[in-house]
């Protein structure tokens, strides 16, 4: 997985409010096995850190596709809030995922949609549809440090964890509610990254990051991402409902909170009881962006 995939990440990382009663079962009904953990080299902080990052990445593949409805809220330092409602479609692909996000509110941006095709070997491709001029425009996909829709999240923050993009180091182990929390530090190898360092807090029960600290180029703590409202989905994939990014320097915050999500869509049924079909690439074309 590569760069500009916010809705993919929302689709995959956002917590699940399962419509199907079977979705929160502890039994693995996903058809995707849990990868076996490597033999961790705890004596070598760099190797251990890298192993943890790679295992987290491997643990979270195989979800196929997703649909979610989320509320994105920007909160100013004084606590003033502005919420937007969006829907996101994501399709997991081996050479790069596809995603489509569409705004439902506020009224002024309802219908705005953005499509992205990830490309592991080149720059991602992105298109934006604006209902006010009824045109689909290609937009630049190169800048990972760009803000995601004016939130405190950047595209870099919303990218999946790609272990090869960082120099890892195991930092410390602490006790969490559900077991050990492993803290690993990643120094971006990409000079265009917006950060000097990231510190992941990995929950070893879910093999997911429950907290990420982002340090600015000057080495100061810039932002903290708190991930909460976790649910196990299809007995296999842990997903969070809520992501809260807190800018520690400006005290501004942005949250993503999912109200509805389907993960592995073909495992759900429609209201009339008929089975749902999984997403196809045809749902991720420029034409699919338009609302006419």
């Amino acid at each position: 997985m590569t760069t500009k995939t916010p809705w993919l990440v929302l689709g995959t990382l956002v917590g699940v409010l399962a419509l199907s009663p079977t979705s929160s079962s502890a039994e693995n009904t996903s058809g995707v096995n849990v990868p076996s953990a490597p033999s961790f080299k705890k004596s070598n902080a760099a190797a251990y850190g890298k192993q943890i990052a790679e295992y987290v990445d491997a643990y979270n593949t195989g979800w196929k596709d997703s649909y979610s409805k989320s509320t994105i809220t920007n909160i100013s330092a004084s606590g003033e809030k502005m919420a937007s409602k969006t829907t996101q479609l994501s399709l997991e692909k081996s050479n790069g995922n596809m995603g489509l996000i569409r705004y439902q509110s506020p009224a002024s941006v309802a219908g705005v949609a953005m499509l992205t095709h990830e490309n592991h070997k080149a720059t991602d491709e992105s298109w934006l549809y604006l209902p006010s001029n009824r045109r689909v425009r290609r937009i630049s996909g190169a800048n990972r440090t760009s803000s995601f829709q004016g939130t405190e999240f950047t595209y870099e923050d919303l990218s999946s964890l790609v272990p090869s993009r960082y120099k890892w180091k195991f930092a410390k182990e602490s006790k969490g509610k559900d077991g050990a929390i492993l803290q690993i530090e990643g120094v971006p190898t990409d000079k265009n990254s917006g950060y000097s360092k990231l510190r992941y807090h990995i929950n070893t029960k879910m093999w997911r990051a429950t907290k990420i600290e982002y340090y600015d180029k000057g080495g100061r703590l810039l932002k903290t991402l708190a991930v909460s409202k976790w649910k196990l989905y299809h007995g296999r994939f842990w997903r969070a409902h809520k992501f809260e990014m807190h800018n520690k320097q400006t005290q501004k915050r942005s949250t993503f909170e999912a109200s509805t999500q389907f993960l592995s869509i073909d495992k759900y049924k429609k209201k009339d009881g008929s089975p749902r079909e999984g997403l196809k690439e045809s749902a991720f074309t420029k034409r699919a962006l338009e609302t006419r």
Binding site: N74, I75, M82, A83, Q104, S105, L130, A142, F148, G150
Partner: protein, 961 residues
Amino acid sequence: MTSESKSGDLLDRLYKYRWAMTAVSVLSVLLLFRFGFGRVSDFTKQVESLADQAPKKSQPQMFDPRSDIWFDSSSPALQTFHEIEERFVAQDVLFIGFEENSDPHGAFSVKSLQAVDRLGKKIREVPYVRNVRSLVANPWIRWGNVDGEEEGLIVSDLFENDPASYTERERLERMISVLGAVNASGLIGEEKVRELLGPDADFSDHIGEPRLLGNLLSEDGRSTAIIVDVIRPRFSDETLDETFGAGTLSREAGPPIHASAVQIEALHAIKELVAEEQGEFDFHITGVPVMREHYMVTAKHDMKFVGLMIVVIAIVLLVLYRRVAGAVLPLITVFLAIMGMLGFVFLKGDLINLVTALTPHMLVAIGVATAVHLVTAYYRLRPDYDDKHDLVRATVRFNLLPVFLTSLTTAVGFMSLTTSVIAPIKQFGYTTAIGTVFAFIISMVLVPTFLSLLPLSTKAKPKAAAKKVSTKPHWSEWLAGVVVRRRKAIVAVGVVLTLLTAAGLYRITLSTDLKTMFGEGNPVVADFLWVDDHISGTGDVEILFSGAPSTDSDDQAAARLGRLGELVNSPGDEFAKELASLKLQEESHQRGQIAVSSEFLGLLDKYQTRLEVEGLDPKSPLHAITSIESALSVLRKIHQVQHENKGTFYRVPADEDVPLDAREPVVLYDEFLEENTIIPGQSASTMIAQYYLQYENGAKPEENLSTLITPDRRKFRFTMRVRTVSSSEKINAYNRMLEIARTEFPGLIGTPADVAAGKALSTMQMTGSNFLQVNMVTAFSETLIASLAIAVLVITLLISLVFRSLIIGIVSMIPNVLPIVVPIGFLSLIGYPLDGPSILVAAVGLGICVDDTIHFLSKYSKARASTGSAEVAIQKTFRDIGPALIYTSIVLACGFAMMTFATFRANVMVGFLGAVIIALAWVADFVLTPAVLSFLPTRDLGKSANRLEDKTSRSNEDNDN
């Protein structure tokens, strides 16, 4: 028991327990100082705990740098300033400018761009730097080939890679996109520009980047600036409560002190980085943090003149008395009074500010005067006594009542300043009052105690011998004679002076000017002027436009939209009614969202153009404004870019820009939730909102619109840069902006009620560091003048009460007020602008004048009552207290004069006006007041005269001797 015997007992007891009382007084002051500084030390640790890392060198935090203390907390400008800090961003801006004249491509030369790139990248890593905008790194919005495939909108840095990696053509294309074709022709020639754009290129389509021109790049393309946003760190309420305690004074003052410290720290780091590059280009650093630091450095530098003032006072005292005690005792009094005052202030939880920093000057004046009166009386009486106890007793008796009255009047008079709504004036009132009380106690306890240590004069003569000496004519006889003989002329001159002064005060100009604030050739001011002349003004002024507040929550608005989606295709009257009602509600909800309102933005666009056009005229006050920045710049640019970069589209979108087929609502079916969603019919307003979204999707987080418009789109920020001109010129510019808005764009400047009722689009409030600062000068000076007028009134009433004569009270205004208003009136008359510190010196002057006046009046009224002759009374008064008043005036005038050697103009003014006021107070006490008093019959001098006579009869005997 008579009052005389009572006072005699008191004086005996004072003498008997003098050492115990001295020990208690000194110990109390030292303990107060110790605990006060203990609190400062605790506070310093609290502030330092906010930092990421402990400072290398801990500095006691005694100074309050907050700007909001200078305002009435209900000031709309201050409230808007805080609103901007909370809703947008709390930061200050640094400008690092330089010019490139040696290369034909000016600031776009490889060497220049590389310097900008290197420096910008290094600065970005300095802690607390939020954003660095430069010629290399700024949001370049354009239409072009995206990633080598389709065409589309691109937002990226102007130079994303090493500037040397670009071909000359790529570099010059970027130059034209920023400078515009016309300006670029001026730099590289029209032929070259046409070669790059094509021979038929329409220059009006290549207007450049108005956001950058006159902001970080000069129009000739030769000078450029790196603009650095340095944040004022913010903390959560929980963190602040935990660090300082909820509701404490420290909680209010701590964060701004921390913010000031980190900004200075960032500035030092940036200066070091700039120094590394300095050889290649001559960099000029300006901005609010630079000026803030320079104030601090200059204040620190000028502290040595306060020391010099003390040294000069000591030397003059030594020369006048030719005895060590004459110099040491007044200075000890002053030091202990200052220590006591500082201890009290810090223990109370307050800090020193620019106004209370003048309290020590005041206490120097009060403390020196009090001690000098005691010491002078001691040395004058010493030849007549052969018993130490009697001598000290007589010295105290001679001074106790007048010193008590001067202290009481000064303390109560200055306490009246605590009714002011401006915190520093309030604090100045109580610090002066407390310091005066300390000065009284210490001088009346410590000075006599130390005087009792001195040996009696070996030249002590019997009283008969002293009378021989007194047969010699005394200067007081001559002066008293002249004053009484020429009293009409003297009073006439006084009246003329008063009238001239009144005319001067009527023309008073309150203004400050950075250009003269630090004297000629100041390098920091020179940097400000350089950036002003070459690129842009660096002062910041803000206008916050606010639309009607929303009555719905986001959820309610979203639910309404959902319901509209359900109803849009529903038939029937019942649904039609609900639909109409919901549409009305939605319209009302959207009306306040001014940042996406084409009507509001269209009007604002015209207002900005109006200001810019008038600003081109050097005679207009608006010439002081150099650039205006807002989300309008982004909006216009995106609109232009969406329309093949045509210059005519560099404007706010209008409804006709929306395609016809987009104007109707569309219903979308969500197959997962199995429900309809409505996409409303599109308009210019939805187009604007979508352009913002498009921009924010590509811009870096630090460049997103959250610093310019609020998330709810109901607040719109207008940021302007203002040149380094005087505060009165700036105020003229601000007033002109408001005037234009009121007369030509009333829709932008409605009242909240008008806006809520839909009669106006927005309210308009001006603010910003610079705006607050210049208005502070006026607001502070006006409030101080009003507060001082109240203090003068209170003092006059007190004097009337003490002397039981309204006439005396009124006459006392002559020596109290005239020495202050004459120099201020004269300066105003010749058109010299006055600033806050100049007015503040008036307060110090008042303290000195009141002291002299009461000493004079108490002796005069007593003498007049006993002799019945004005001339004799004046003569006797001169003889009794003349030397002390002369010594005090010489000492303090010389001391204050030392401040005229300071760097900071305000300190020079303190020195100059202080010395002049002291000299004039002397003239008033020795010439004008006696002349006026000589016109009054004895009965008008008050019933207190006899009481004073009773109380001090013993001292009169002494004096007669």
